[in-house]
């Protein structure tokens, strides 16, 4: 589904990604872990198409398309979803309008008719109930005045409505209490199926207790230093990131 080969990128003149290789197949859940400043969030933003992040080398194939040739909105319509580490507040733009516009943009790109307003409301209410969100969110501005946990739940709500092929969730677990973490994890797990893939970018192993990954990668200095199964995450939790670096030197 996603094939990243030797990807390098630069932000504000500084090299952040230094040759990433990663292959993700349909049905898989990958966790990308690493210390602060290792390039995890940059990788997520580059894949989503942020323009001020400059790709300096390598290639990315997504569902047989050259991902890097697509604009951010085209990537989204093709089935890529980025769950933001810091979801943006947009006062004055209604939460539901945004979602409806997003869903219709995707449908239009797929040659499908626009969603019926009544059906859409029913769909979103059902998903909100699943995410244990109050219906008052319907009338509010995008993330406007939401708590950290509410914003993250809203990201997952958007993901459930848009049903992406590939979801990249950037530190969706940060700032969540244990109840919110369970709800968010329930949302992510509900999307798992053989046709989709999920990338979890996270600092902590805690999230992986709720969303079990098939593969774990350790990112440091803009490179993937080590890959393994979920036991790698447990080992990291126990021994720290320095252990990975030390084990490579040895």
């Amino acid at each position: 589904m996603l094939n990243i080969a030797n990807l390098s990128a630069r932000v504000a003149g500084k090299n952040i990604l230094n040759g990433i290789d990663l292959r993700i197949n349909a049905g898989e859940v990958h966790a990308i872990m690493g210390p602060n400043g290792s390039g995890k969030s940059t990788l997520a933003q580059v894949l989503a198409g942020r323009e001020d992040y400059e790709v300096t080398g390598g290639s990315v194939q997504f569902l047989d398309q050259d991902l890097l040739a697509l604009s951010a909105e085209e990537r989204a319509r093709a089935g890529l979803f980025l769950g933001f580490q810091y979801p943006v507040e947009i006062p004055g733009v209604n939460n539901v309008y945004l979602l409806k516009a997003a869903l219709n943009a995707k449908r239009k790109a797929a040659g499908e008719p626009e969603v019926d307003a009544y059906e859409f409301l029913a769909l979103i209410k059902q998903k909100m109930k699943f995410m244990e969100m109050s219906e008052t969110f319907l009338s509010r501005g995008v993330n406007e005045g939401f708590s950290g946990g509410e914003k993250k739940r809203n990201e997952i709500l958007q993901m459930l409505v848009l049903e992406p092929k590939l979801a990249i969730l950037d530190e969706t677990d940060s700032g969540l209490d244990i109840d919110a973490l369970k709800i968010v994890s329930k949302g992510v797990n509900s999307l798992r199926d053989p046709t989709r893939a999920v990338v979890l970018v996270t600092h902590y192993q805690r999230l992986l207790d709720y969303i079990e990954p098939d593969y774990v990668h350790v990112l440091s200095g803009g490179r993937i230093l080590k890959s393994g199964d979920k036991s790698l995450a447990l080992e990291l939790e126990r021994r720290g990131y320095d252990w990975v670096r030390a084990s490579l030197v040895a």
Binding site: E73, I90, G92, L99
Partner: protein, 440 residues
């Protein structure tokens, strides 16, 4: 005897001034002569404002001054009146063509008395004269002097009780190119009365027109008025609009100035807070578009203690347009415990557009709370990327963000119908407006 029997110091220089003087000279004296004459003298003595005049420093009237203006005719007004616009549900609508109110067939509403200023001038010139601007030491009021000299008709509106039906005044200018009109509206809101008054400047036949309108709003104790002035004319129309507000104790005035059209739009707002606990809330939605020039000039004067004023502006400039928001608060000596807030936010949508914002404070007493803030910037790239990452195309995302920028002022409007009308008009002026319609 002709009205021209007066002396003046300097000969008028510009074609515009010469044409106004010629109109004045061709008039016959009427019952208001004692007010008109000194006003015209003063206007001619001052001449047209230039950028050297403090309150006109951002607005160059050179193009307007080079134009020769024609007197608006009543005949053209009457012809146009036959194609009066449809009534909006639940509102009383009065067409004012070239300053002449079309009162025939206008339904009566309980609590509001409406009469023509021409009738008032005949029956009680002294009462009308009391409202007229005859001298002025401020640049901003200069055009009100010309209005005093040249207005022919207008409306006197007396609000006697709590009126729920909005009153919509639709101003249009009819006639040949270069027609100038000078409408005058006087609103007296009695003690404890309430009303919503919407003045709309709509597009009409006359090209390169000038509308030099003056409105007086007087709010007696405990009165509440919501007033709108909406400029929706074509880019070749010029507006110089003066709004003078006087507020007695505990009165509340909510004022919206919305420029969604017009080529040159200069608005003045002068509010005198004369009674304790009087409160002014003024909102300006200034949309610069194409090559438009919008200059909004507000002064709130706190004359007594415990008065409040709030001035809020949202400016958007695209193309090569220029938008100016100049707000001033004066707290006079003795007006302690007064509160004022000035907030201005600007959004630049093109590199050639310009927004100037200037909050001013003049405080002559202690113990006041006066706050002001002003920011101008471009669309937030983080907001834009967030929307793009959800698959929304760039044009729609930008339009949504522009709309969102204005939305918080719209929510202050009490009347849902008015808000819907204003939204429709504003959205039509924004880039990619057709995309926005579906998000209403």
């Amino acid at each position: 005897m002709s009205a021209a029997a007066y002396s003046r110091l300097d000969p008028p220089q510009s074609p515009a001034l010469r044409s106004f003087e010629a109109q004045w000279q061709s008039r016959t004296r009427d019952s208001l002569h004692a007010w008109r004459e000194p006003a015209m003298q003063r206007f001619l003595g001052l001449g047209l404002p230039t950028t050297r005049d403090e309150s006109w420093r951002y607005t160059n009237l050179r193009r307007l001054a080079a134009q020769s203006f024609l007197e608006s005719s009543e005949a053209a007004a009457l012809r146009a009146a036959t194609r009066a616009t449809a009534l909006r549900d639940g509102a009383l609508r009065i067409a004012i063509v070239n300053g002449y109110p079309q009162l025939a067939g206008v339904a009566a509403i309980d609590g509001i008395e409406i009469s023509s200023l021409r009738d008032m001038a005949r029956l009680d010139p002294g009462a009308l004269g009391g409202y007229l601007q005859t001298t002025s030491d401020t640049d901003a009021q200069r055009w009100a002097l010309l209005n005093t000299a040249l207005f022919v008709d207008g409306l006197f509106i007396k609000v006697r009780s709590r009126v729920t039906t909005p009153l919509v005044l639709v101003h249009t200018t009819e006639g040949a190119a270069g027609t100038a009109s000078h409408p005058l509206i006087i609103v007296e809101a009695s003690r404890g009365s309430t009303a919503t008054i919407i003045e709309q400047f709509a597009d009409t036949a006359a090209t390169s027109s000038l509308c030099n309108a003056v409105t007086h709003l007087h709010l007696d104790t405990d009165a509440e008025i919501e007033h709108y002035r909406i400029f929706a004319t074509s880019p070749d129309a010029s507006h110089i609009d003066t709004l003078n507000i006087r507020q007695q104790a505990r009165s509340r005035c909510k004022q919206f100035t919305i420029t969604q059209g017009g080529g040159l739009v200069r608005t003045n707002l002068a509010s005198d807070l004369l009674g304790e606990h009087a409160r002014l809330d003024s909102f300006a939605l200034l949309v610069g578009h194409g090559a438009r020039h919008v200059d909004c000039h507000n002064v709130a004067r706190h004359a007594v203690p415990h008065t409040q004023s709030r001035q809020t502006a949202r400016s958007i400039a695209s193309g090569t347009s220029r938008v100016i928001f100049n707000s001033k608060v004066v707290v006079e000596s003795g007006a302690s415990h007064s509160e004022s807030r000035q907030s201005s936010r600007g959004l630049l949508l093109s590199p050639e557009a310009e927004i100037d914002t200037r909050p001013q404070l003049e405080i002559h007493t202690d113990e006041v709370k006066c706050a002001h803030g002003a920011t101008t910037g471009r669309l937030d790239p983080n907001m834009l990327f967030y929307m793009l990452s959800r698959g929304i195309d760039r044009a729609t995302a930008q339009s949504l963000l522009v709309y969102a920028f204005l939305a918080d002022v719209l929510t202050d409007m009490a009347s849902a119908e008015t808000r819907a009308d204003v939204e429709t008009g504003l959205i039509a002026q924004l880039p990619d407006s057709q995309l926005l319609q579906e998000f209403r």
